[in-house]
């Protein structure tokens, strides 16, 4: 088992924050080396250092036995280290071939782009990626996200790559697309390419990984051959304790039906198809499913942001005739969206203004804002949810992910909802905040709220929900209670319709 790339005693400081603490990491030649860890554990920082876009504060990097300086992404590329970032960096308005060669176009006569040559090489690369049916002239914007990901990989393959770093490449892919990606990774491994693979998805990386390395709080805490590990071991390493103790289980008595949905249908690229569900007082209901299953669209429709073509929504037994955000908010629904930056926060505003955004109109005297009331209301919520802030007047962007999430939650709670809709409430927040948010959800249920939340993490949804609904292709494909839910059943149900697509 030959080492190809080694990072020795790497530390990295950002201002006063130590992102990496004396990390020594080894990647083995021709293997898939998986890196796992919670957000902020330091794995992305290490990858930035290995790909040349950040410099370590101390430590050295050894490539095939020689100490190397990776002063820039270009320098790393020259040594055969390529990286594929989580966010795609493609030009949707250009063709596949043009994307593959963007910034390093093949030349003809030293001056003109050799379009034919690029097309030929592009075809070779697509073939290597198992996409020989794709026309290199297709616009990248017209491709599904999975194939775009492959184009991104193709860009790296064009260089003579020895080490390929992939940062959560499957987060936006369908199951079928993940299968294709894994086949490609298998091929790369046979071609003696070393893959460093960062992922959150336990069930996925266990299929493809040869080695697993676990990060926690800027340290490397475990390094093991995949075959010697199991899921429980990995989770324990990641969180530093037993996964079940992380989440607080709701155990409040269940009351009346607060939210009932019948036959809700929303057309669109990601559709909601004939969904019926109910949430009772004191109940925490989880929706598990893959990205693109229609979960977010369901939530947005419930909140009045999208218009249903069929179906009915009842809150506390009353039919909701108007589907506007204002009407649904007045009825007692509140949504904490999945993408905080895009849908939740107003980045240009302060913590206070963000917290009060939905209810500001109530805090007036004679038409003008009542400053002291604003201050008091915001301060109360901050202490209630234990939000860590430098001050109510600070810009909301100065907060960490978990605290930003709590700001959005505080805003939702101020609208005095009876059913709280949470779309991936723990996404992108650290372990501590995750556990706090889980605790809050249980507490809210205990106070008589109904809670409906979305999660893509098996462990989380199993540990937190009283009932789990599984969504796939816009439909509810299964329902489990906390007692009878299993990982396997969830995965199967979530893939039930995607599988159809794969064979089609």
């Amino acid at each position: 088992m030959a080492e190809i790339l080694e990072a020795r005693h790497i530390s990295k400081n950002y201002g006063g924050v130590r992102a990496l603490k004396d990390v020594t990491f080894t990647a083995y030649r021709g293997q898939v080396n998986v890196l796992v860890g919670e957000n902020g554990a330091g794995k992305s920082t290490l990858m930035k250092i290995l790909s040349g876009s950040e410099q370590p504060t101390s430590g050295e990097i050894v490539l095939e036995g020689e100490t190397v300086q990776l002063g820039s992404p270009r320098a790393a590329q020259a040594l055969g280290i390529g990286i594929i970032h989580q966010e795609l960096s493609l030009f949707p308005n250009l063709s596949i071939a043009e994307n593959l060669f963007a910034g390093r176009e093949l030349r003809k006569g030293g001056r003109f782009v050799d379009a034919a040559g690029q097309r030929r090489r592009a075809r070779e690369v697509l073939e290597r990626l198992g996409q020989d049916r794709l026309d290199p002239d297709t616009l990248v914007g017209d491709l599904p996200i999975g194939q775009q990901q492959l184009v991104e990989i193709g860009r790296v393959l064009l260089e003579d790559v020895r080490v390929l770093i992939m940062d959560e490449p499957t987060s936006a892919l369908s199951n079928h697309e993940v299968d294709v990606l894994f086949e490609v990774m298998g091929d790369l491994r046979r071609d003696d390419v070393t893959v460093i693979y960062i992922s959150h998805k336990l069930d996925e990386f266990r299929r493809i990984g040869d080695w697993v390395t676990v990060f926690r709080d800027g340290r490397l805490v475990a390094h093991e051959s995949m075959s010697k590990t199991d899921t429980g071991w990995i989770v324990r390493q990641m969180v530093g304790r037993d996964p079940d103790s992380l989440y607080v289980r709701n155990s409040s008595p269940v009351g009346d039906v607060l939210l009932e949905v019948r036959g809700l249908t929303v057309p669109g690229t990601v559709a909601v198809d004939d969904v019926s569900l109910s949430v009772r007082a004191g109940e925490v209901v989880g929706i598990y499913g893959l990205m693109g299953a229609g979960r977010t669209e369901l939530m947005e429709t419930l909140m009045g942001m999208r218009r249903a073509t069929a179906g009915e929504v009842f809150v506390r037994g009353e039919k909701e005739p108007k589907s506007t955000v204002q009407a649904r908010m007045a009825a007692g629904l509140a949504l904490v969206p999945e993408d905080r930056q895009r849908d939740g926060l107003v980045q240009t505003m302060t913590v206070r203004d963000n917290i009060l955004l939905a209810t500001i109109a109530k805090l007036t005297r004679g038409g003008l804002l009542a400053g002291p009331a604003e201050q008091r209301t915001a301060r109360d919520k901050v202490s209630e949810l234990a939000i860590k802030i430098p001050g109510l007047g600070a810009l909301v962007t100065a907060l960490s992910g978990g605290n930003q999430q709590k700001v959005v939650l505080a805003r939702a709670l101020l609208t005095e909802p009876i059913v709280l809709l949470l779309d991936e409430p723990t996404r992108g927040v650290d372990v501590g905040a995750k556990s706090q948010i889980a605790g809050l959800m249980a507490e809210l249920a205990a106070r008589g709220f109904g809670v409906l939340f979305i999660s893509s993490e098996l462990a989380e949804v199993m540990a937190m929900a009283d009932r789990v609904l599984v969504m796939a292709r816009g439909r509810i494909t299964a329902e489990f209670t906390a007692e009878n839910v299993t990982e396997e059943a969830l995965v199967t149900a979530s893939a039930s319709e995607s599988a159809l697509e794969a064979s089609a």
Partner: protein, 359 residues
């Protein structure tokens, strides 16, 4: 928004970094950049008053402020729009249109079946402002209901409103707006020519408009909604803010402000002509940008915009006062605007570098 500005350095203050005297230096630079409009204004006054002794006299300051008033009122309206992330290119034309509508009503009255009616000056002014507000409402509806990009919708309106102004008199000028006692429509010169307590009425109007705008933007829910729509429209929707209403409202405000500015200009001139306020939209946008309003929306202050209008006005008048040629006036004005935007960028960078330390 003002309290945002004041409060923003708090994160750094709350988490002091030892060994970093550089942070203190950066913070001082940031303060200077934040107040750059004021700094530029002070520098201008110093330069011009050292060249001409007439610059820093009471009467000249009053005169320059009066010249500022028209652009400031236009710019305040435009600032509302820019804060929501939109743009209003039609304000100059709206000013021209309301000028012609008011001028026509004063000069030749309104033809109704059975004769010609003349309105009192107050009613004429009100009609002028309502016309501006209505054109603004059309802008708002185009943008919200028909999803036309603000740039395009208001660019179109720039031509439509200007054309309407020209059609109104078939291209001619209404030369005499003094009115007659018999018609009961005298006194239009009050808003543009007269003074109260030694200060031109136009300046008082600017002060009132600015004060109301400051209260609306900082002390009302509607104001917060404006900033939210400009800062993150999707988040605003999800917070139950009626985004379309907010947008229509800001274009109405912008149109009404533009109309008011057009009326002031017309009153001062004592004549209404269809080319009134041509290209003034650019001066108004420049004042807003100079005052720190971000064209991307969500960031800016009314006070900053007013300061921006002062810089542009004091600069233009100063150049005329010391006898600089028209060509150089253009060059200098453009350079100041570009400089302001560059410093705005520097401020943003510095600010984010300071906040990142504490995150």
């Amino acid at each position: 928004m003002t309290d945002t500005d004041v409060a923003a350095p708090a994160p750094t203050a709350a988490a002091p970094q030892p060994e970093e005297s550089r942070t203190a230096l950066k913070r001082a630079a940031l303060l200077l950049l934040r107040g750059r409009t004021l700094v530029v204004l002070v520098v201008l006054v110093i330069i011009f008053s050292s060249i001409s002794s007439e610059y820093l006299t009471q009467s000249n300051l009053i005169l320059m402020t009066k010249h500022v008033a028209i652009n400031a009122i236009l710019a305040i309206g435009v600032t509302f729009v820019i804060l929501t992330g939109g743009i209003d290119l039609s304000v100059g034309s709206i000013a021209g249109l309301s000028s012609m509508v008011a001028g026509g009503l004063l000069f030749k009255g309104l033809n109704v079946p059975g004769g010609t009616v003349f309105f009192s000056v107050a009613v004429v002014i009100l009609i002028g402002i309502v016309v501006g507000a209505l054109v603004g409402a059309v802008n708002g509806l185009l943008i919200t209901r028909f999803k036309v990009a603000p740039f395009i919708a208001t660019l179109g309106m720039l031509y439509v409103a200007r054309g309407a102004a020209q059609l109104h008199s078939n291209g001619g000028t209404y030369p005499d707006l003094a009115g007659t006692e018999a018609r009961g429509n005298t006194g239009f010169s009050f808003i543009g020519v007269d003074s109260l307590l030694g200060i031109p009425v136009a300046v008082w109007i600017m002060v009132v408009v600015a004060a109301v705008a400051i209260v609306v933007t900082t002390r009302t829910p509607f104001g917060k909604h404006i900033f939210a729509v400009g800062g993150n429209e999707r988040a605003a929707v999800l917070s139950g803010i009626r985004v379309n209403r907010v947008k229509i409202a800001v274009y109405v405000i912008s149109g009404a402000c533009a109309a008011l500015a057009g009326l002031l200009l017309t009153s001062e001139l004592g004549a209404a002509y269809p080319d009134t306020a041509t290209t003034y939209e650019l001066n108004a946008i420049a004042a807003a940008v100079l005052g720190g309003t971000a064209l991307s929306g969500g960031r800016g202050t009314i006070i900053g915009t007013v300061m921006g209008a002062f810089v542009i006005g004091f600069l233009s008048d100063g150049l005329v006062l010391v006898g600089v040629s028209t060509f150089w006036q253009s060059v200098v004005k453009g350079a100041v605007i570009i400089f302001a935007v560059i410093t705005e960028q520097a401020q943003q960078r510095l600010q984010s570098s300071l906040t990142r330390h504490t995150a």
